[in-house]
């Protein structure tokens, strides 16, 4: 049965982009085997319908996993050289580069982020990510180990772990796709990818490029599905060797539980955060304010590393807040296709309601609103930059991850107090600090319980620097060489060619 292809129009150019709406399994776009359900995609800037795609069922996940397993056993896994994997991943990067404009337009339509940011940052970094891991594919070496060279030889092989379920979120659809796909393919794994049900369009479009690049059928499969359906099915599936998830801590727990209940599959999690951002009195205040604004407003605050708790040294608190409010006001928030715009809406009605309820709770619990807090009357899921001061630790806006452009600002007297406040969270994804005292920078960076500590900057990630959480922000690392460890299973081979065993002992 042929599956529909949606035609989506780019508002500024009138260009029509075709997006396949079927499930991508074995290099083909197919219908669900047993479900008529569809997922509707909406443009968050206009609240208008974009397209419907097939919603995968648990049975569809079965089919996809079987395809991935077959590919792993025949054309991929141990049957493909690092050289070949490198070549294909590089080709994929080239194709994404070729189609960057269309992909950026789709990303902006479905996610809301400004077009130029989607194209130059999300997609630019994604291309770099694929190329980075393409470079690793033929360099994943094991060890040769000395035992007694006259009788034995021991060595390790870094084998691909197998079929990997990958579940990605809606905040950076293309980039999260690249972060997962690149190291998994480089290591030799096959993939069943479940993109977010809010933003499946670019994952489906990218699946066309998988075919064009020349990957054998079944190596990458894409099954848009509800988290509670497709995500749960992957986590529970006995035919999946590893699941990688980026999303909320609540869902991360469910996935780890399901893995334990089923086949003890390997799990890597990149979860939420409530990252602290510390401003010490010796900091360059103007620069620090720029970074702090970036830290909470980039991607409309929908960033697991958002610097959502800002602690400012008492002596500079009022001055800094004034500068920061000024910076926030400079950001133009609107439709991503508008050249002037630096920030878009939040991704969906669900998110919109959630963020606004936190803003209400902030008001109710007595935090002081110094910016924002008023809903727009026009269409679109907009939340304008919102800053609360006079916070106290037990407030919901200080405890919970909001995932929107809502900043909670507190103060501290001493370095020790700053560290204590910063670490007072169950999360541990990122942290930032601004200071011109190098020793202080070192001390505080050492003391912060976070997987990434940014010194005199915020939010900058690089494909060759590892990233991931401590505490309840996650397990495992992405980016850098460490990401490969998540997709590799080490086999030790111990070869006897000289020892004769006496029996009985």
């Amino acid at each position: 049965m042929t599956v529909a292809v949606a035609e989506i129009t780019v508002p500024t150019t009138g260009k029509k982009i075709s997006v396949p709406t079927g499930l991508f399994i074995n290099n083909k776009f197919v219908s669900s085997v047993d479900s008529p359900d569809k997922i509707d995609c909406v443009n968050p800037a206009t609240e208008e319908f974009l397209a419907s795609v097939v919603a995968g069922s648990a049975k569809d996940i079965d089919v996809a996993v079987a395809a991935a397993r077959e590919a792993f056993n025949t054309t991929w896994g141990k049957h493909v050289s690092g050289f070949e994997r490198s070549k294909l991943i590089n080709k994929l990067a080239d194709l994404i580069e070729r189609d960057a404009e269309d992909l950026a337009a789709l990303e902006t339509l479905n996610n809301g982020k400004p077009l130029k940011i989607a194209r130059d940052f999300d997609i630019g970094d994604s291309i770099g990510c694929l190329r980075y891991y393409a470079g690793w594919a033929d360099k994943i070496v094991g060890q040769s180990i000395e035992i007694d060279p006259s009788t034995k030889f021991a060595f390790t092989k870094n084998e691909p772990i197998g079929v990997c379920g990958q579940i990605i979120p809606w905040n950076y659809p293309i980039q999260m796709w690249a972060w997962k796909v690149a190291p998994a393919l480089a290591a030799g794994c096959t993939i069943v990818m479940k993109p977010s049900e809010f933003t499946p369009l670019t994952a489906l479009k990218l699946s066309e490029l998988i075919v064009e690049a020349g990957f054998p059928p079944g190596v990458v499969n894409t099954v848009p599905s509800l988290g509670s359906v497709g995500g749960a099915a992957l986590s529970l599936h006995k035919g999946v060797d590893k699941v990688a998830f980026t999303g909320s801590t609540v869902t991360g727990r469910k996935i780890q539980k399901a893995a334990a209940d089923s086949n003890l599959k390997k799990v890597s999690l990149e979860l939420g955060g409530k990252s602290p951002h510390l401003i010490f009195e010796s900091a360059d205040l103007d620069q620090a304010a720029n970074w702090a604004a970036l830290g909470i407003l980039y991607n409309t605050g929908q960033d697991c590393t958002a610097g959502s708790r800002l602690y400012v040294q008492e002596s500079i608190h009022d001055k800094f807040v004034e500068i920061l409010v000024g910076k926030a006001k400079e950001l133009t928030v609107g439709d991503g296709f508008d050249e002037k715009v630096g920030g878009g809406p939040v991704v969906s009605k669900v998110q919109y309601d959630k963020v606004w309820s936190y803003i209400e709770s902030g008001k109710q619990q007595g935090a002081k609103l110094v910016l924002g807090g008023e809903k727009r009357s026009s269409k679109g899921y907009y939340v304008d930059p919102t800053i609360f001061t006079n916070i106290t630790p037990e407030m919901k806006i200080v405890q919970d991850e909001i995932f929107g452009p809502v900043l909670s600002v507190g103060k501290f007297k001493t370095e020790e107090e700053a560290i204590k406040l910063a670490n007072d969270t169950t999360y541990g994804l990122a942290a930032g600090l601004h200071s011109n005292d190098a020793n202080q920078c070192m001390r505080v960076a050492n003391a912060l319980d976070a997987g990434t500590v940014w010194v005199n900057q915020y939010n900058m990630l690089y494909n060759n620097v590892p990233f991931g959480g401590k505490k309840q922000s996650g397990i495992g690392r992405e980016l850098g060489s460490h990401a490969l460890d998540e997709y590799i299973s080490v086999k030790a081979i111990q070869w006897n060619y000289g020892e004769k065993l006496e029996w009985p002992l």
């Binding site: 690092g82 050289f83 490198s86 590089n90 770099g128 190329r131 980075y132 393409a134 470079g135 690793w136 594919a137 033929d138 360099k139 070496v141 060279p149 006259s150 030889f153 190098a438 020793n439 070192m442 001390r443 050492n446 494909n463 060759n464 060489s481 070869w495 060619y497 000289g498």
Partner: protein, 500 residues
């Protein structure tokens, strides 16, 4: 005025037009040599003149060093971020792939190769090597080291600065790529001198480096003689490292010069007299084929040529018969004719050297099993040659001939084979043929060479390190280890809390 050499090929194996600029490539520009002399480059298949290349001297090397230094300090080095260096190398690989047929034709013409070998072995290795090292550029990390709480300690892996490479005439572009790729990936500026016998492919390649987008001065080519241009590179006070592949004699000279001048770092990939050991449990037919490949491919002009062939007594006679048949099946001819299986040696000088060795073997009383004569009277073709009944102290057993001349010796036991194999001042490579895994691993463990090949000839692989023990040199090409040759390690200690 820099001239362009062009040739129209109309042969069964390649049709097309090639053009190569025959100047010096400095600062992304083509320039004449300061002293305007030229060197003739000859087609070894015919002995005929191809074209002239520039004859660089110390003045030109100075200009190249200036350009390389300026690039390193301003536009190249770590000023081009690592991922961008990788990207440029990847682009260069794409361009080499685009022009691979042309480059193979140039190489086959200039170095006397069989065109399909130049295309599928040499050029593919160049492309793979460039791509492999492009991937390393942003992954060559240092370490952070926990010492005590009051200190932050880490190492930086830095490019050395301006480095030089001198490469030989047997696999001109391929061996050049073994130096170019890691040197540029790690951020060094490079000045490379090809052999004066075979400069054309690297000159064509230089234009591709510019097309790929490397900043001016990052990559420079000076063509000329070893005793002038090569010597100038070895002496130069601003060149901090030199990588050489070639004869042991020249390698010594380079190391001496480096020691006498600025103690620049040196890596040497020198000669070999590699052992090729065949046990009686080997797959005989395959062993014969690989052994023939190991000594006759590219007329034996390989540093890792398996030129000392040791065969266990039980299969000796059959082996000799088989190897002789393989040797005699060789058909000399133009590298662009499909029926050719044997090419010329690269130059008249090399031809004379090899023929001298053959003469010495005959005079010393070794038995000529097959070959020993020139093929035809045009071009530098030598018959695949095997000597038997040799004594260890014969020149043909001790010295590297670098031609299609092997010596074959009978042995009885494993211990004897190992002793014979290791009995050489060289230690580049060892090949062993056996179906007994215990024996293979044991022998590999004890072989005194930088590479060991089991049940195959010494065929390098871009993912694996290649470099000798003993007088075959030190330092590795290819594989991750090659990065070390182009890296300076700096340890940084930052006091974050200690007080005196």
């Amino acid at each position: 005025m820099v001239l362009t050499f062009t040739r129209d090929f109309d042969t069964p194996l390649y049709k097309g037009k090639i053009s190569v600029k025959t100047g010096l490539f400095i600062n992304n520009e083509w320039v004449d040599a300061a002293e305007n002399d030229t060197i003739d480059t000859i087609d070894p298949a015919t002995g005929e003149f191809i074209t002239s290349i520039a004859d660089a001297t110390a003045k030109d090397v100075d200009a190249a060093v200036k350009a390389a230094t300026n690039a390193f300090l301003t536009t190249w080095g770590t000023r081009t971020p690592a991922s961008e260096r990788g990207r440029l190398l990847s682009k260069l690989a794409d361009l080499v792939e685009r022009d691979a047929d042309k480059l193979a034709a140039i190489e086959a013409l200039d170095a006397g190769k069989f065109y399909p070998h130049a295309r599928h072995m040499d050029l593919n290795n160049v492309i793979n090597t460039l791509r492999y090292f492009s991937g390393w550029a942003d992954k060559a990390t240092g370490k952070t080291i926990e010492t005590n709480e009051g200190k932050f300690a880490y190492t930086r892996h830095e490019p050395i600065g301006v480095v030089a490479a001198i490469v030989p005439w047997n696999f001109p572009l391929m061996i050049a790529s073994w130096k170019i790729a890691p040197a540029l990936a790690t951020g060094n500026s490079l000045i490379i001198k090809p052999s004066e016998v075979t400069s054309l492919s690297l000159l064509y390649f230089a234009d591709l480096v510019k097309e790929a987008g490397f900043p001016a001065g990052a990559f420079n080519v000076v063509t000329g003689y070893g005793r002038t241009a090569g010597q100038a590179l070895s002496e130069h006070a601003e060149i901090r490292k030199i990588s050489f592949t070639g004869s042991t004699l020249t390698g010594r000279r380079i190391m001496e010069t480096a020691a006498k001048t600025n103690l620049k770092r040196v890596t040497l990939e020198l000669g070999g007299k590699s052992a090729n050991v065949v046990f009686d449990d080997a797959d005989l037919e395959q062993a014969i084929k690989y052994t023939a490949l190991g000594i006759f491919f590219h007329s034996g002009q390989m540093c890792a040529a398996g030129s000392r062939i040791y065969v266990q007594s039980k299969i000796y006679d059959d082996f000799v018969k088989g190897l002789t048949a393989a040797a005699q099946a060789a058909k000399g001819g133009s590298g662009f004719e499909p029926t050719t299986t044997s090419g010329p040696v690269a130059s008249e000088l090399q031809f004379d050297r090899v023929m001298d060795y053959i003469k010495s073997g005959k005079e010393a009383g070794a038995t000529l099993v097959t070959g020993g004569e020139r093929i035809g009277n045009k071009g530098y073709y030598i018959q695949p040659t095997i000597f038997a009944d040799v004594k260890t102290d014969m020149k043909i057993v001790q010295e590297e001939i670098f031609g299609p001349v092997g010596v074959i010796v009978k042995f009885d036991t494993d211990e004897e084979a190992l002793k014979l194999a290791n009995d050489s001042v060289f230690g580049l490579s060892t090949a062993i043929f056996t179906t007994n895994i215990n024996r293979a691993i044991n022998f590999s463990n004890k072989a005194e060479s930088g590479s060991v090949f089991v049940n195959m000839a010494s065929l390098p692989d871009y993912q694996l390190s290649f470099g000798g023990y003993k007088e075959s040199g030190f330092g590795k090409d290819m594989g991750e280890y090659a990065l070390e040759s182009y890296t300076n390690v700096k340890a940084v200690h930052i006091n974050t809390g200690m007080r005196v």
